[in-house]
């Protein structure tokens, strides 16, 4: 068992090394986004003011075409992402598709995080609480339940009460 175990450990260690190395290369060797990529990304972050439910990137409405052209112009002269989106938001308020991280809008970011923390805490609590119940005492009622389930199973599962099915597994 021991050599096999060592082999397994080695294999996993090798996987870990390969994965970490590949992730590092994949993450840090990234080039800066090209202007075209920036335009695409920016235009998908702003809602088309005319056509509901679509971003500027997706829409072919006249004004969406013009807004895309505006983004291209601004990217070409080297404006930053925040600056460009800020300009558009000042002209078409409420169309920025990324909710801001301050004010009421920040709730949309905070709530999921709070929910995740609560869920994890609840899960941890559940596991802690469940653990000691491994050796739950079996009382007469439980035994009766099992007996009954076994009896109905022996009679062929054709009883009309499906409630006992659970005991079978």
């Amino acid at each position: 068992m021991s050599p096999r175990r060592r082999q397994l450990a080695l294999s996993w260690a090798a996987v870990a090394v390969v994965v970490v190395a590949a992730l590092a290369v994949g993450t840090f060797a990234a080039d800066d986004p090209t202007p075209a990529e920036r335009v695409r990304s920016l235009s998908s972050q702003f809602a088309c003011p005319k056509c509901v439910g679509q971003s500027v990137q997706e829409s072919d409405a006249g004004i969406a075409v013009e807004i895309r052209a505006e983004i291209v112009r601004r990217v070409q002269v080297g404006q930053g992402d925040g600056e460009i989106l800020g300009f558009l938001e000042s002209k078409y308020p409420g169309n920025l598709l990324t909710p801001s991280a301050s004010g009421t809008a920040s709730l949309v970011w905070a709530l999921p995080v709070a929910g995740a923390v609560l869920a994890l805490a609840g899960l941890a609590y559940a596991f802690v609480r469940w653990r000691p119940r491994d050796d739950v005492e079996v009382d007469a009622a439980d035994r009766d339940l099992v007996d009954d389930a076994l009896r109905s199973r022996r009679t062929g599962g054709a009883t009309s009460d499906p409630g006992n099915r659970g005991a079978r597994s």
Binding site: V18, L23, Q54, S55, A61, W130, N164
Partner: protein, 665 residues
Amino acid sequence: MNAAIGSAGVALGLLASVFGVITLAVGIRSHKPLLLRRAGTYAALILVAGLIAAAAMERALITRDFTVRLVFENGSSLTPPLFNFASLWSALEGSIILWAVILGGYIALVAWKFRRRLDDPLVAWALLTMFVVAAFFFALMVGPADPFVSVNPPVGYDGPGPNKLLQNHPLMAFHPPMLYLGYVGFTVPFAFAIAALVTGRVGEGWLVETRRWTLFAWGFLTLGIALGAWWAYEVLGWGGYWGWDPVENASLLPWLTGTAYLHSVMVQERRGMLRVWNLALLCATFSLTILGTFLTRSGVVESVHAFSESSIGAWLLAFFGAIVVVTVGLIGWRGDRLRSPGSIDSPVSREGAFLANNILFGAFAFVVLLGTVFPLVVEALNDDQISVGSPFFERMTVPLGLALLTMMAIAPVLPWRKASMETLGQRLQWPAWFGAAALVGSVAIGERGLGTVAGYGLAGFAAGAAIRQVALATRRQGWRGLVGRTNGGMIVHLGVILIAVGIIASHANVVSREQRLEPGESFTVAGHELALVSVERTDTARTIRTTAAVRVDGGQIYEPQVNTYRVDGMTIPTPSVRTTWSHDIALTVSLGDWPDGPVQIRAVVQPLMSWLWTGALLMGLGTVLAAFPGRRRRPTDPVSGAIGVAEPEPERDPDAEPERAEVRT
């Protein structure tokens, strides 16, 4: 004439469902099995009523009976037959008819399937619940969404036809019915969940009986969503397939909770745990279908796909509220008594993994719901107008998706109850190498970005685990290693992984460019040279069609079109999409709002788009395979012996048999 027949059908449906509710309520209360057995008649009547209404409306559409308002507003003598037929569900009132027909079908099927057990209180309560839902939808058609309102059309009137966006792709004829089969299908398990809560029947009986109903509803919903994405890709012309639009989100929400249920239900069947949780998931799934219907039909959220605004919203919201109050009340009242004494032995176990899966899916659904309704919340709080769009959804769901892929890799190899780290390490060894290979390969071909490369790696990891399971099962059991819930589930997983890879690849590598061109000019996108050869205008009775001929790389000619409808001047593009296994080129021609200007050609090049559609197909196939009974079977089943007999085509018989046996229980 058509209106009269249709209204009669609607009235019949309402009466049948109301009387069905009353009969069953009295029957249950006074313990009269005779009354309970009448449920079958009412179920049949509801189906017939729905069919009459649908047939009357289709007849009105086909004969262009403009005295019916729905036809007046959505019919046109110029609409091609397929789209004319599909006009039924492209209008708000008509979509309620479709809903009612499908619901009638499900009710009749349930009544037929359980025909020998109609006097069982569980079945009676389930049917009662379904009758209430049917009564609501027929009441909608009597009240705010009456499809058979009569109008007086002027002589020689011709209608505008259905929404133009829905007219230029045949997929539109299949996507809504598929979606509705899914939405409405969840009524069945929901009704049984309510019945289980009301009768206080603990145990897993109801759940085993609705297993396949849930599975099929889920499968239809999956295909419906996939068809919707495909339609968006083929029609909307921006190379995308998912825009986190409120209507898309509304269809995703019940899918997420339904998927969570499909997993956690196995914990209950196997270990008798999570009973209340499963009931809650089913109730959530059904109420989310109603909430989605409300969101898309009331005009509270704005969307490309939304129906026109109407007063139906208040009714749907009230119904949603009633469902929430009833289910929450029932669970609060019964929940603590239904809870099982079982416990999870170790977090590192199959049930622990399913629990984690449920939390991830729950979080996913929460994030999607939050993002969808958040603009309304902010508006209610301080009257601000804000938008929540894809940047939010992507930032929130990418980590969840990666976590789900991880669970997909680990969970299938985990044993129930408890797993040692060594077992886990052994079973996951080759999947892990597979994932590492995918990761290294993706980095080697130039993919960058932590989320992207990690996504490829985890997808490879999950695929390795699924393939391992399928390989083991088929080696052990031959072709039977492909059917049954566990094995079919692995096929579904492989479909999901294909979709995940398709999403990651197309998202990370999409290249799009647009340019205004005169014939003879060209531009380059992602190494492909696109030359505009000619622009042609053809006048048809319905539209002015502009067809651009674009030569790609000096070879193939793509012909994207744009139709300008004469009725309202609306322009609808028909992109030209060429799919290969490795990448897609989609060309859209648009005029903008500028009919006389040079045409604008938009080219979108995305890799691995075909993987998305293949994956969806595989998910559908896996669902069907999962619906067949698997290897595990009670020894008392009479058929388990017969399977061993090696016949050339034994598939159908042995599979049909146990299905019935199991359901009858």
